[in-house]
Every structure is written in C-alpha cells, then in structure tokens.
Symmetry: C2
DNA sequence: CTTTAGCACTCCGTTTGTTCGAGTGCTAAT
DNA sequence: ATTAGCACTCGAACAAACGGAGTGCTAAAG
C-alpha cells in the first residue's frame, strides 16, 4: 500500500523531530510546530501509520517513535541530503592535509576525523592488501630462526609479519631471497602471489623452495587475521546519547565495537558498495541491534580496496552522516592517489 | 601517632570488607562477622580512626569507608600477599605460550592477559627503544620522495617510520645506505645513534650526510611520539564496578585511559621501579582521581626497558593484583629473554 | 580504666500516594 | 473529510511515610 502525500509529510516530520529530540513525538507538538493540519487529523494519520508499521508507541498515551521500517523509507526516499557548511568541509579537509606520511597514518586520521565531526563512532578498515600489487618484500633478521617480513604494495601500504625461518639462513641470504621475490612477484596481486608455483623458479629461490612457499602462505594468511586491520575511533562518543545512559547498554555496545574481527568483516563486506546504510536489526552484530551503520567505500586506481563507516544510534542524522562520508570519500581518494603519483 | 594492634586489625578488616562489597562497613556488621569485640568497642575505635584520617563517613549514620591514607597503610604494611592458585598461574602462563612471535605480539597478549585475569584495565608500554641497541636498519622505497624505515633492535623490537627522502635516491642506493648504517651503528644504543657525528663517516654515507642526519633524527623523535607505544586492554571492564555506574564517570575514565601519550608517560616514569602503587589523588591524571594504578617494570638483560600496569578502582584488590603482576613480570622476563638467545 | 549493653537519634533508600502534563481515541459538529 | 471537544491513560516528578543500618553517648559491668 502506498502512503499518500500527507502521510509521508507527517512521517518525515516525525523522523526529523525524533532525530533531534530522542523522545516520542506527539500530535499536538507537531501541529503546533508548523504542520498545516490539526492535531486530531495528525492523530488519525499517526494511527494509520502505526498499523502500517511505520510508527510505534512506547506506551499508550505517549507520542510515537519511528520504527526501523520508517527509517528505511526515510533513508531510501524521503531524506534530502544535507550539505556541509564551508567551515565543516574545510575542517574536514584539514585532517587530510596534516598527516600525509603513509597510508596507515592517513586512515587513522580519517577515523579520528569522522568520529570527531559526526560525534558518533567511526571505523576504518585498512586497505585489503590482497587486491593490491606487490612492490617490495624485505626480510629482516630478528633472531635465530625468526625474521621480520615487511611487505609494501603499490598502494603504499606496508605490513609487518614475524615469520619462522630455517636456522641456517643468514642475513645475506635473507636479503638475496627478498630481492629475488621482489623481482619475481613485483606487480602481482598479493592474493595471487602465493598460488603461483614457486617450484618453477630457478636460481636463488629454488634452493629454498619449501621455505619460500611457507613464507608466502604465511603472508597471505596473516594479512587477514591481523587485528590491526581496523582503526576505531570515538567509541565513547556513544555515551553522550540518552540511548546509552544505561551502563549495560553502553557496555555491550563497546564490547561489540571492539571485536575487530567482526568490524573488519562488516567493512570488508561493505567495500563493494559505494554506500550502505544498515538500520537496527538489519545488522548482523548482536550489539548493534539498536544502532545504524553507514559505510562508504574508498578506491585506489578505480578498484575499491576498503571502506569506512560511522556507527550511531538508529535515530542518527543520516543525511548529515552521508554527506560527511561522501566528502571524506573524495578527500581520501585524492590523498591515496597522491601516494601513487609515480605510475 | 602509632596505631595500636586493635586499631590495625579493625582497619584491616574494614579495608578487606570494603574491597569486596564496595559499600560502607558498619560496626555491627564487623562484630557479627568474626571480630572479637563488641560493636560498641569497634565503634569507638572507628571514631578514633576517623579523626586520625584513616576512615571517612559518607554521611552520619552510614558505615565508614577507608580513606586513601588507609589504603596507603594497607598496601605498605598490612596487606599479606595473596598467592595465585595453580589454576590461575597456569592460565596466565598459557597466554605467554601462545603468542611467541615477536615482542609486540607478546606485549599485546600481556595486556590482554592482565585485563582478563584481573578484570581491571591493563596498560602495557612497548619497550623503550632508546636504551636498546640497533641491530638492523632497512629503508624500503615507497613512492618518489618517501620510504619506510624499519628499525630492529637487539631486544627483537621493530618499529616502522615513514620518512621523506631526496627524490634522486633510487632503491639500490637506499639499500646501500641501509647496510652502511647497520654496519656502522650496529650495537649502538638507539639514543646515541643520532648524536654520533655522521660527517666523520666515509664512503657511501658521507655523500648523503644531510639526508642521513635527518633520517636518524627522525627515527629518534618519532619513536617517542608514536601513539602505538602503549597497548590498552579491558578499558570497559571498569563499567562492571558500581563506582562507574554513572555514565559520566565512566566517560571521563575512558577518555583518560585513551590518552596514550599520558599513559606512556606514566608507565615510562614507573619503569625505573620494580613495582609502584599509586592511590587515588596521588595520580597525576585528572581522570584517575578515583582509581589506583599498580605497575611493574620488565627487564631485558637486566636493564629495565618498560613497564606495565593495572588500573582499577581505589578499592581494588591490591594483594591479588600485585601477585598477578609479579607473576607476569617473571613470565614476561623469560619470554623476552628467549628472543635474545643468540648472544 | 576498659569494655559493653542500651537507647535515642539520624539519615538514606524505598515504597506509596498524588499531582500534572502530554498524549490518545472516540464522537459529534462543521 | 476535517476538526473541536472530551474523557481517559500513563509516566515523570515530587512529597510523605517507613524501615533499616548505623551512630554517639551514657551508664553499668568487668
């Protein structure tokens, strides 16, 4: 069933109001606040909207609050995108001017920027190294039997992994192996590096084929399990909102958000989409049943390599958040590109 | 003025009880709970203890709670060290068995272990790289004008820094410079590396003296300002305690604990001492006025290189925490030593 | 002189009652 | 179809009442 124009207007007014006040909005308040119908009319419509599932009543004789269905409709069709003030976008831009050393630093500062500007919680996933191309591999001796493997990709992302090495390999040989691998696999996608046949290689590498194979396998595996792949910022911002004035709710939220594996999975999944908005129970995470997650992906050279997002109460200011994400998305794109100026 | 035996016993009982219950303890409860004096006697003693500053009354006709002075006395003289059950120390040991790859990983898992076992908040500082000796420096090209500097010290700690490089340096030269620096400064303390005169060097390095100097300076400077130098775990544990059932208190605590710079400074300062116990207002941090911080230092080759600690409410179980820290200290010592088996 | 029983008093946390305001649904009039 | 009016409902906020745990003081007992 379609909602007529009036129902839509009323619904929108309710959502707008609720986003601001966080308390149930009633018919009188609405009609006083610039609606062109009387409270009674609005009341009737509200009753209809309730049976249609767009509104809910905490208890009889309270105002209505929007249901998730309402937010969905709001986000998909009714919301008009806010545009940031010059001030804000300048502020945002500032975050990207400052930390220009290294992709990691940029993404970390992105998380901080997002959480500080939105006042919600921000998560940023480090770029999925798998889709990038290897630029440099360096093995550095640590102790007998252990070395540090540093991988640098064409997107300028680096990653350290501690690996086991045969005890009879010396520093010079490690260096030669590093160079050989770099030469051989340079510009290969990381995800395909390990699957390529190592045996077919001649020279330096074939003598250590077993080791090299396990090394490459380890690199790919550790990449995905690294806890540091998600940057989190402003988790405690949520304590500002009445939704979380109950310590227990706050606790479950914080616990959820600290599950970096889950956060990573969530963002990874979202990185195929330009934007996503996931409302309340649409979230898979237990602890996000009362929140919404808005994400945007970021690209390098046209391919999406990661995403970032904002987590807030379901009544978050979607329009504003989306504008901010969009802004950050372009900023981020520019900055990341600048790391690749040599082509 | 000295406290007589009875006063001491009563005070100790009050502290013990308050640590458990978190609510003011009264004279009747005490005398019923195994004290050999009547409630009236205890009451008189309590009145004395209050005028002496060891106890405080939230309001007339409430029980007494220990003052900071009382905790101080308790920690310094009255507390008998708890000893961990076999189960617990085995559990603890398990944390160290698992993650044996890399100092960073070990310390991260230390933080986790501490917070999970104590149920308080744990902080661990990464070893102060300054007192360690350089083992390896590797420069890896990132883009034009930028490179990644990886430093490995004799304690097995690694550190990445993105640095600017002159645009005309190619990969091969970077590699040569890396090797030259490694050869020249190997086994020098990191803190002295930069102050050594670079100009006096011949060969490869002298041609790039300016660059090398700024590089070394950068390495030392970035080391101390790196936010990642502190590992935090279990910050949300504090929400379990009635002291933090007020969301605002929780918020200020969490905000404080997330100031990694401050945490680092705190731990750094404590790393000269085997153990420290800092109670309530003895803490410098604004947000720790209602907490206590207990720290222990850890050593490599006899020199203290860092410390770790537990933050809890002032009424935390000091005896237990200290035992755990002591246990962790030895475990950690063993593990870190194992990274140095080659001497 | 020290300890303890007894008593009056204090104060908090909780419960119970009351009021007030905002909101609702329904009906009848426009 | 809309709206004014009315009776009703419910929760938040405030106040009074109560019970319990604890105290300080005094006087008696050891």
């Amino acid at each position: 069933m379609e909602l007529d124009q009036r129902k839509l207007q009323i619904l929108r007014a309710i959502v707008d109001e609720y986003i601001l006040s966080a308390s149930p909005v009633g018919s009188k308040a609405l009609s006083r606040g610039g609606m062109k119908w009387s409270s009674a009319t609005i009341r009737n419509e509200m009753a209809d909207l309730e049976t249609l599932g767009y509104l809910a009543q905490p208890h009889t004789s309270a105002g209505r609050i929007p249901s998730e269905k309402a937010y969905r409709l709001y986000v998909d069709q009714m919301m008009q995108r806010a545009h940031l003030s010059d001030e804000e976008s300048k502020l945002l831009y500032g975050y990207f001017r400052e930390h220009v050393h290294g992709v990691d630093a940029v993404l970390r500062s992105t998380a901080k920027a997002l959480s500080e500007i939105t006042h919600y919680t921000a998560v940023v996933m480090m770029p999925d190294i798998g889709v990038n191309r290897l630029r440099h591999l360096q093995l550095i001796p640590l102790t007998i039997g252990k070395a540090l493997a540093v991988v640098v990709t064409d997107a300028g992302v680096s990653q350290n992994t501690v690996i086991d090495i045969p005890e009879d390999i010396g520093p010079e040989e490690l260096d030669r192996i590093s160079k050989a691998i770099t030469a051989r696999f340079s510009d290969c996608r990381m995800s395909t590096v390990s699957s390529k046949l190592v045996r077919e290689l001649g020279g330096e590498l074939s003598a250590r084929a077993d080791f090299v194979e396990s090394l490459l396998a380890r690199l790919c595996e550790s990449q995905s399990s690294d806890r540091r792949m998600v940057e989190l910022s402003g988790a405690t911002n949520m304590l500002e909102y009445p939704e979380y004035s109950d310590v227990n709710k706050a606790k479950t939220f914080l616990a959820t958000v600290e599950q970096k594996d889950d956060m990573y999975r969530m963002l990874k999944k979202a990185s195929n989409m330009e934007f996503t908005v996931t409302i309340g129970s649409e979230n898979e995470q237990e602890g996000f049943q009362d929140c919404s997650v808005v994400t945007a992906s970021y690209r390098v050279n046209g391919t999406p390599v990661g995403s970032f997002g904002v987590i807030g109460p379901t009544r978050m200011d979607y329009a504003r958040v989306l504008s901010i994400l969009k802004n950050v998305q372009t900023n981020l794109g520019t900055v990341l590109q600048s790391f690749l100026k040599e082509e």
